[in-house]
C-alpha cells in the first residue's frame, strides 16, 4: 500500500528513515539539513514508536549517541549540514573502523553556492576518507527509497553509510510515493564483540586491514546498486544492448560494442550524479546523442567507469559540489582520454550547478530574453526589527568607539548579520565557537579589548570548552553570550543551554561578579553600556549575558496561543 505526499527532499529522507524502522535521530540544526529532524519530531510514528528525536548539543555528540544506539542493536540516523561533518569527524571516521551493529546512516547536507554557509566543502570526500559506502540521491523519491536501502546496506556490510544531499534537493518539494504501512523499530541484541569496539592499536590495525580489503567489494556494490543506471539514446537501443543496460557488467570489453559504433565515431558520454543528473535529463542529453551513466553510490565503481569510457569518445562529468567524481574518473581512464567537467572548465569550477550551465556544457545554449533591468539593487538579509541582537550591537558600538584598538570576534548565527550596515560591528566569523577561542588567542598576543560575541546555542555547541581554556589562562577577554532562548537562525529549535548559562559559566570557573546578565532593550542602554565598560576594564574573563527572547519565536508562540483561544 502506498500514499503520495508532497515532500521536501529533507522530509522524504525523514519518511524513509521512519519506514526503515529507526529508533532514533540525532542532530544539531543546520541549513539545509534541519527539516529532516523537525519532520521526525512532528510525526505521529515517532510518538507511537518512542523514537528519540530531541536535538543534540552538537554534531559530535549526535554522531556518538547514534553509534551507541547502533551498538545497542537499533537503527539510528545522524543529520547535519556539511560543516557539521567537521565537528563530527572524529567519531564519524572511527565509526568506519568499529563498524556498526544496528544500521547507522549519516546524512550530510551540503550547501554548494553557500546559500547559508561558510564554505562549500563536499561531504563525499568524508565518505572516501572513512572508506564507507556513500549514497547520493537525485530526486526526492530516490531520497525516500534510499533510506531503507541504506539501513539494509549498513547492517549487511556492518558499516555506517553516508547519505549526501545538496541544498537543491534538501529544499525542493515534489510528490513522493511512500509506504502506508506502519513501520516497526528494528531491534537486534546489543553487540558484545570487544575486539571490534575497543580501538586499541592491536584491534584498530586489524580493523583497518579488513576495511581496506573490503573496498573492491564496496565498489562492486556501487555498480550493482538499484540506483545505478546506464542510458543510451533510443536509436542505439537494440534489443541486445537494451538488456545490457542495467547490468553494466555485461557490457563488452570491445570499444563501441554497446552502440555498434566503430571506435572512430563513438558517441560522447556523460557521467552524472545527484542533482547534476536532473539537469542532464532536463536538457535532453539522450536525444542529443549522449550515452549517460548515473552514479548514485561510492566508492566510484571503477570497472564500470572504465568500460563505459570505452563506449564513448569523451566523458563529461556532471556533479554538484567539488570535482570529487571528475578527479577519480580522470585517474580511472588515465592518460589522454578527454574528461570534461568542472576541472576542465566546461562547467563552473565553484557554486551549485543549474540547468543553464549544464545546457551549455552539453552544447545546448539557453538565451534569456530579458535582462535584469538597470538600477535593481541587492536586498541583503538583516536582523529582524525588535531583535535583541540589535540592542547588543548598538551598545557594543557605543562603548567600543572609545577603544579604537578593540576587536570583536563573532560567531555563527543570526548575529553574524551584525557584520552588515548599519552595525558593521564584528571583525571575524569563522566556525562554531571560534569567537571565544580567537578572542583568547588575540588577548594572549596582547590585543585589548578582545570581545567575543556568541549566541546561546553556539555557546553550548562549541563555546564552553574554549571558555574553560580562557578561565584556566586567566585570559583578558569579554565574552557576550547573546541569549535569545532559541536556535534562531535555523528556525527556532530548542537551545541546549536555556536557563543554564549562569550556572555553566560559574561551573567553568568564571568569577561570580563577572557573570553579568542584562535585558537588551533601548531603555536599558545606559545600564548595558556601563556594564560592558566595567567588564572591558576588568583584567580577566568576563561574561555578559544579554537575554531576551527571539522575536520570531515570540511571535510564533503568540499566534499559537491566540489560535488555541479561538
Amino acid at each position: 500500500m502506498t500514499q503520495v505526499k508532497l515532500l521536501l527532499g529533507d522530509e522524504a529522507i525523514a519518511e524513509g528513515a521512519l519506514h526503515a524502522g529507526i529508533k532514533g535521530v540525532y542532530a544539531y540544526p543546520g541549513t539545509p539539513s534541519t527539516e529532516i529532524t523537525e519532520y521526525i519530531q512532528h510525526s505521529a510514528i515517532s510518538q507511537e514508536n518512542g523514537i528519540h528525536c530531541t536535538w543534540s548539543s552538537n554534531e559530535k555528540t549526535a554522531m556518538e549517541a547514534a553509534l551507541g544506539m547502533s551498538y545497542a542493536g537499533c537503527r539510528s540516523m545522524v543529520c547535519m549540514k556539511h560543516v557539521g561533518m567537521n565537528v563530527a569527524a572524529d567519531a564519524f571516521v572511527n565509526a568506519g573502523m568499529t563498524g556498526v551493529n544496528g544500521g547507522l546512516v549519516v546524512v550530510a547536507a551540503d550547501d554548494p553556492s553557500m546559500h547559508s554557509s561558510q564554505n562549500e566543502q563536499d561531504s563525499r570526500f568524508y565518505g572516501k576518507f572513512a572508506m564507507i559506502p556513500t549514497l547520493e540521491p537525485s530526486t526526492q523519491q530516490e531520497a525516500y527509497e534510499m533510506m531503507a536501502y541504506a539501513f539494509d546496506l549498513s547492517e549487511k556490510e556492518k558499516l555506517p553509510v553516508l547519505l549526501r544531499i545538496t541544498t537543491r534537493l534538501a529544499h525542493s518539494r515534489a510528490a513522493v510515493r511512500i509506504s502506508a504501512e506502519k513501520p516497526e523499530a528494528v531491534r537486534k541484541p546489543a553487540d558484545r564483540d570487544r575486539s571490534a569496539w575497543v580501538l586499541l592499536p592491536a584491534n584498530a590495525k586489524r580493523k583497518n586491514l579488513a576495511l581496506t580489503a573490503k573496498q573492491p567489494h564496496l565498489e562492486q556494490l556501487s555498480a550493482e546498486s538499484p540506483f545505478f543506471r546506464i542510458s543510451v539514446p533510443d536509436h542505439f537501443a537494440t534489443p541486445e544492448n537494451k538488456d545490457a543496460l542495467p547490468g553494466n557488467a555485461s557490457v563488452s570489453e570491445n570499444a563501441g560494442a554497446l552502440t555498434g559504433n566503430a571506435a572512430a565515431s563513438l558517441p560522447k558520454g556523460i557521467i552524472a550524479s545527484g542533482t547534476g543528473y536532473n539537469y542532464v535529463m532536463e536538457n535532453n542529453a539522450l536525444e542529443a546523442g549522449y550515452l549517460l551513466m548515473k552514479i548514485s553510490q561510492y566508492p566510484v565503481p571503477a570497472e564500470a567507469v572504465r568500460q563505459f569510457s570505452k563506449e564513448c569518445s569523451q566523458i563529461l562529468v556532471v556533479e554538484d559540489g567539488q570535482p570529487f567524481l571528475e578527479e577519480q574518473v580522470r585517474s580511472i581512464v588515465g592518460g589522454d582520454y578527454p574528461v570534461k567537467g568542472r576541472l576542465a572548465g566546461d562547467l563552473p569550477r565553484t557554486g551549485e550547478l543549474n540547468p543553464d550551465c549544464v545546457a551549455q556544457a552539453i552544447g545546448k545554449k539557453t538565451v534569456p530574453v530579458y535582462k535584469v533591468p538597470d538600477g535593481i539593487v541587492p536586498r541583503p538579509p538583516a536582523l529582524c526589527q525588535g531583535c535583541g541582537h540589535r540592542d547588543v550591537y548598538i551598545a557594543l558600538n557605543q562603548v567600543l568607539a572609545g577603544y579604537p584598538e578593540s576587536r570583536v570576534f563573532a560567531d555563527i548565527g543570526c548575529y553574524t548579520l551584525g557584520a552588515l550596515p548599519p552595525f558593521c560591528a564584528i571583525d571575524t566569523c569563522v566556525d562554531m565557537g571560534a569567537s571565544i577561542t580567537m578572542a583568547k588567542g588575540a588577548a594572549d598576543a596582547g590585543l585589548h579589548p578582545a570581545v567575543a560575541v556568541i549566541g546561546d546555542s553556539t555557546f553550548t555547541h562549541s563555546g564552553m570548552t574554549g571558555l574553560l581554556d580562557a578561565v584556566n589562562d586567566r585570559s583578558n577577554i569579554t565574552v557576550v553570550i547573546s541569549d535569545n532562548l532559541t536556535t534562531a537562525m535555523t528556525g527556532g529549535q530548542d537551545s541546549a543551554g536555556t536557563n543554564k548559562f549562569e550556572a555553566i559559566c560559574l561551573a567553568l570557573g568564571v568569577e561570580k561578579e563577572h557573570v553579568r546578565v542584562v535585558v537588551p532593550l533601548q531603555k536599558n542602554m545606559e545600564e548595558i553600556t556601563r556594564i560592558i565598560k566595567e567588564e572591558l576594564e576588568y583584567d580577566g574573563v568576563s561574561v555578559i549575558i544579554p537575554r531576551r527572547e527571539c522575536m520570531q519565536t515570540l511571535a510564533r508562540k503568540k499566534r499559537q496561543s491566540s489560535r488555541k483561544q479561538d
Binding site: 503520495v4 508532497l6 521536501l8 541549513t31 539545509p32 534541519t34 527539516e35 546559500h115 547559508s116 537543491r168 534537493l169 529544499h171 525542493s172 518539494r173 515534489a174 510528490a175 542533482t275 536532473n278 539537469y279 535529463m281 532536463e282 543549474n354 540547468p355 543553464d356 545546457a359 539557453t366 538565451v367 534569456p368 530574453v369 530579458y370 535582462k371 535584469v372 533591468p373 538597470d374 538600477g375 535593481i376 539593487v377 541587492p378 536586498r379 541583503p380 538579509p381 538583516a382 536582523l383 529582524c384 543570526c414 548579520l417 537562525m489 535555523t490 528556525g491 489560535r563 479561538d566
Partner: protein, 190 residues
C-alpha cells in the same frame, strides 16, 4: 502541458504559502510538481525566490531554467524584476506594486520604468487593497487570485479547494477570509 512559475518577494511576505496552495492543488490534480525553496539566512528580510514547476509529464530539474518561466508572481515589484531573465518572451509578470522599503537605496524610478516597459504585466496595489479589506495577512492570497486566470494548468476552482485545504487547520474564519482575498484578487487579474 507545463507551467514554470517564479515566486518572489521579501523574506516574511508569504511566498511559500502561495507555493503551498498551488502545490496542494497540483498534487490533487495529479500533476507532477517540483518546488525549490530558499530557507535559512536569506529569510531574514532579504530577497527570497522559489521556483515552482508544474507539468503533466516528468520534471527533472528542481530549478527553473533561464528564459522558461511562464509567470513571475511577486509580492514586491523590485523582486519581480530581479528574476526577469527567467521569463520567456510571452511570459507574465504579476506583482504587487507596493514597494517594500527596508533598504536605503530603493530604486523607485527604475522599478516603475522597468515595469511599464513590459508587455505582459499585471500590477496589484496589494498594500492598499489588503488594508481596505482589513486582510493584511492575506495579501499573498489576493496576489494568487490575480494570477488565477493566467496559471491555466490549474483552474480557479482547484485553487479555491486548496485554499480551503491548506488553511483548514487554522479555523473556518481564516479559510473564509482567504477565499474572499482570492476572489478580490481575481477582480484584478485577467
Amino acid at each position: 502541458m507545463k507551467k514554470d512559475i517564479i515566486l518572489s518577494g521579501v523574506g516574511g511576505q508569504g511566498i511559500l504559502s502561495i507555493a503551498t496552495i498551488i502545490g496542494d492543488a497540483a498534487v490533487r490534480a495529479g500533476l507532477n510538481l517540483k518546488q525549490a525553496e530558499v530557507h535559512g539566512m536569506s529569510q531574514r528580510g532579504g530577497e527570497v525566490e522559489s521556483g515552482l514547476r508544474l507539468s503533466d509529464s516528468e520534471i527533472y530539474s528542481d530549478m527553473v531554467p533561464l528564459g522558461s518561466a511562464d509567470i513571475i508572481l511577486s509580492m514586491e515589484p523590485m523582486e519581480a524584476l530581479r528574476y526577469l531573465p527567467f521569463l520567456h518572451e510571452g511570459g507574465y509578470v504579476i506583482t504587487s506594486s507596493s514597494p517594500f522599503r527596508n533598504i536605503g537605496n530603493y530604486p523607485e524610478e527604475a522599478v516603475e520604468k522597468a515595469l511599464a516597459s513590459l508587455n505582459h504585466v499585471i500590477t496589484v496595489d496589494l498594500d492598499r487593497i489588503s488594508q481596505e479589506n482589513s486582510m493584511p495577512k492575506s495579501a499573498n492570497v489576493i496576489l494568487l487570485g490575480a494570477a488565477a486566470g493566467v496559471i491555466g494548468i490549474l483552474t480557479p476552482e482547484q485553487l479555491r479547494e486548496s485554499i480551503r485545504n491548506v488553511f483548514a487547520r487554522k479555523g473556518e474564519h481564516i479559510v473564509d477570509m482567504n477565499l474572499k482575498a482570492f476572489e478580490i484578487g481575481q477582480g484584478y487579474g485577467r
